[in-house]
Amino acid sequence: MPVRTVLNTTIEHVSILDEDGNFDADLGRDLIPDDDAVRLYEHMSICRHFDEIAFKLQRSGRMGTYPENRGQEAASLGAAYVLRPDDWLVPCYRENTGLFWRGLPMEMILLHWMGDERGNQIAADLAMTPQAIPIGTQLLHAVGLAWASKYRGEDRISCTFFGDGATSEGDCHEALNFAANLNIPVVFLCQNNGWAISVPTKIQCSAPTLAQRGMAYGMPCVQCDGNDIFAVAKVVRDAAELARTEHRPTFIEAVTYRLGDHTTADDARRYRDQAEVDAWKKRDPLLRLRNYLSERTLWDDDREKALAARAKKEVAAAARRAEEIADPARTDMFDFLYATLSPDIEAQRSTARTSSLGVDPTQLDDARSSGIEEAV
């Protein structure tokens, strides 16, 4: 037989709690206990409010550009929920829910977008890297972190988050290839939110799924409903188990949708139909989980009202902490560049904001005036 099939395969899509409220009791069994489901819903709601306040802070000139997370609350939270607290989270910039769940104070994210570097100063006991701004570069760091963990004989794994656009970057493919071939314990979680600013997913990938990108590198891959926190929890739990026990990576495509603009500097009305946005609003991860809880009498309007008040209070307090922090010193920008500054940079640091770098600012006025007199 001169022609034979060498590969036949399928890609699975996992959905547990769908947009109509159907819940797959088999797949969902023992996945998220009721108490935790309540806590996760509360957390997502607070993060949704955080998003609104962050948006308003930007619009009122109190914060720089901000990327709304609205609509994507389930993906990183589902992952953070099932991962161990010491597993590395290696995020891009739409993972607020997961990072906050892990314990990152909300004001850190605000400070970051307020242009304050102290927003990146993550406490040493939090296993996470600062938000990666350049697209897709963080996947390789997740590979390196997991590799280092394996090297040290530990069973910590890493989980990295990235969007559909990032799957077009070379770094992404190099990371997948390294992890698969060298047996590195990483969970690659792609949040396919449909849009890379104005470019739709179909321009990033002509194949029917992004999930199959993982298959090309020989790693398990799966697609899930990214707005279904149960589905995310299940696929990440399975992937984490495989990584921890067999050092095998998994590629997960969480299908979700960016309900907001790319950032506050963007206007998505220029390139996408409102009908598409409206359809996705019905699949909102918060709405779905709230209905799930209500049907099980775990939630009601009173609790919703109380939660709204709590969200308002917590986010306002975080915003206050971010806004009230004392301004950084002008020399602050030099301080973490190297373990020890070279004499040249030390001179720049000590004379920053004087008109002549390298000159002691306390002597500058005299020097300047005597210089001018002599010149005249």
Binding site: N120, H141, R152, G170, P343, D344
Partner: protein, 327 residues
């Protein structure tokens, strides 16, 4: 003390640092079984095993990005990029992450890693295998850039680089790899990164060079002293970033004249930076314009004409004579 060439000296430094510190690992293309295409990592796989010496898939960006991730979890990866011309595929990870992770995490995630790579011309290599683009990395905040010129300083500087708390670009002059042997001590000399070396004291003019260009420079010095009665001072820069401004300024303040030699392109090259520093700090001592003997502002040519591109002793001698003649 033993006589060895630069390849052996570098291998000795890698072997010793790996033996002394379990965090040190070697990562790159062909660094394992093959021992590196120039054999700098020869034998390390046998000694330290495949958990510490990794052959990776062919992807420079992937190697550097992965090493950054390893470094931020406390390992000390020593990356080999097979030729410096291939670093451009890793430019993004070097600039955006290797150089800035310490700063952007405000000290939480220092990147103590070394990126070793052979650079420069003179070995009749194919296209993209002869570049000398150290100026890119010197221009990048957060990196250190080190270029040894012989077996002995290569050995000590690689030790210092691997033990450095910050990321180091370590450019190895491949034209020097097997060009000569030198006494290499059993323990590294205490050379600090950021310190230049005055390799010859003199009164008439300061010659500054580094890496592979030290050889034609020293050849020129021989000619100048023997044939022309000139007494030059010679500085081997060793560390491009941070740069040892003090040693440069002290020397030129004494001699008043200076010629700088490098094989990288002239515009915005290392010589331009040295001239700026001398202008800022030794202006009143200058007796003549500072001359640059450098590669041209062109891509490194194919090897049939590389001898016309690379600075040699004759052109250095000419530059010195012109500088001395200036009144």
């Amino acid at each position: 003390m033993a006589q060895m060439n630069m390849v052996r000296a570098l291998n000795k430094a890698l072997d010793e640092t790996m033996a002394a510190d379990e965090r040190v690992c070697v990562i790159g293309e062909d660094v394992g079984v093959d021992g590196g295409v120039f054999r700098v990592t020869k034998g390390l796989l046998d000694t330290y095993g495949e958990n510490r010496v990794f052959d990776t898939p062919l992807a420079e960006c992937g190697i550097v990005g992965t090493a950054v991730g390893m470094a931020i979890y406390g390992l000390r990866p020593v990356v080999e990029i097979q030729f410096s011309g291939f670093m451009m595929q890793a430019f993004d990870q070097i600039e955006q992450n290797m150089a800035r992770f310490r700063r952007r995490s405000r000290g939480r995630f220092p990147v103590s890693m070394v990126l070793r790579t052979p650079y420069g011309g003179g070995i009749r290599a194919v296209e993209h295998h002869s570049e000398s683009r150290e100026a890119y990395w010197a221009h990048t905040p957060g990196l250190k850039v080190v270029i040894p010129s012989g077996p002995r300083n290569a050995y000590s500087l690689l030790h210092a680089s691997i033990n450095d708390p910050d990321p180091v670009i370590f450019y190895e002059p491949k034209a020097v790899y097997r060009a000569f042997r030198e006494e290499v001590p059993d323990v590294p000399d205490p050379i600090e990164i950021g310190t230049a070396q005055v390799v010859r004291e003199g009164a008439d003019i300061t010659l500054v060079a580094y890496g592979a260009m030290m050889r034609p420079t020293l050849e020129a010095v021989e000619d100048l002293t023997e044939m022309h009665g000139v007494d030059p001072e010679v500085i081997d820069l060793l560390s491009i970033s941070p740069m040892d401004t003090d040693t440069l300024v002290t020397s030129v303040s004494k001699t008043g004249r200076c010629v700088i030699v490098h094989e990288g392109p002239r515009t915005c090259g290392i010589a331009a930076e040295i001239i700026a520093r001398l202008n800022e700090n030794a202006f009143e001592h200058l007796l003549a314009p500072i001359k640059r003997v450098t590669g041209y502002d062109i891509h490194f040519p194919f090897f049939q004409v590389e001898k016309h591109f690379l600075p040699d002793a004759d052109i250095i001698v000419d530059a010195v004579k012109e500088t001395l003649a200036y009144e």
